[in-house]
Symmetry: C2
Subunit: 181 residues, 2 copies
Amino acid sequence: MKKVVLDLAVSLDGFIEGPNGETDWCILEDDMNFEGFLASIDTIFYGRVSYDIWGNFQPGSGASQIEQQLWKDVNSKHKVVFSSQSRDDDNAIFINSDITNKVKEIKEQGGKDIWLHGGAGLIKTFIELNLIDSYRLSVHPTVLGSGTPLFKDLKERIALTLVKTNIFKSGVVQLIYEPRK
Amino acid sequence: MKKVVLDLAVSLDGFIEGPNGETDWCILEDDMNFEGFLASIDTIFYGRVSYDIWGNFQPGSGASQIEQQLWKDVNSKHKVVFSSQSRDDDNAIFINSDITNKVKEIKEQGGKDIWLHGGAGLIKTFIELNLIDSYRLSVHPTVLGSGTPLFKDLKERIALTLVKTNIFKSGVVQLIYEPRK
């Protein structure tokens, strides 16, 4: 069965963006093996705003060959957009209701895993509906002080099991958890 | 020169207590080597409330020998209480003003390091005054959802350097940082 994987960068104080949407604190290192992560998924879940920005993003002609290849990989995935508005995109489906059951159906199709891309609203919905199977949080060595929190106003605690830890030269620590059964 | 060391448990979403002061999610493991940490410090900084609760805490007679020894160690340290109220305690000094300079004086006395014990208000003051030399955060595998945040409403970002990572069987990951120079 497919897993829903939340893979994202967080500041040490748990923000996914600064107060004005800043992501300039996010570090990308070659040994983070983002290609490896992309190879483990065949589907990407977007909210509407994220889809409009990133769903068919084309890097500029000045981008490196590695970057061009990354975006080619990303754009080859199945796309699922959680939105009441649809778009003209043969490679995307649009879901507007009954999220829990529709996600269950997609997971049961098997194949590779699903990257829960975001944004913040969709991630919050997935956390609250208990639909995330793997949290891959790259904790950055920066305290932002304010911004958009990854976890916000949850009604219940989430107990997790630490599965793996990856430490990078830049001081980023990737913590990989699964919800405790 | 002495270092001011913040050593504490945080939930994965960055809280040091639950919404009603809960710390039941904090895990203590033998291999966390708290004795080793205690051996590295000779001074403890308390806020007034924390001092009143913990400054001369005596474990009950039912406590294990290890626990008795731990508290004996803790109680043998020099104590500095940041408070406008003083108490009758020969082993404690009370500081009420000019924190930055008084902390500087204490650091210059040399010897072992200083444990910034808390509570939350004192920690916030120390973060804002840029008085912390080492952050030792034990990230617990629990999302609390709400509570007392370690970092709150900071006016400026804090850039840190990751110094060390310790991973424990329970899924606690201790991240040790120093402020970037």
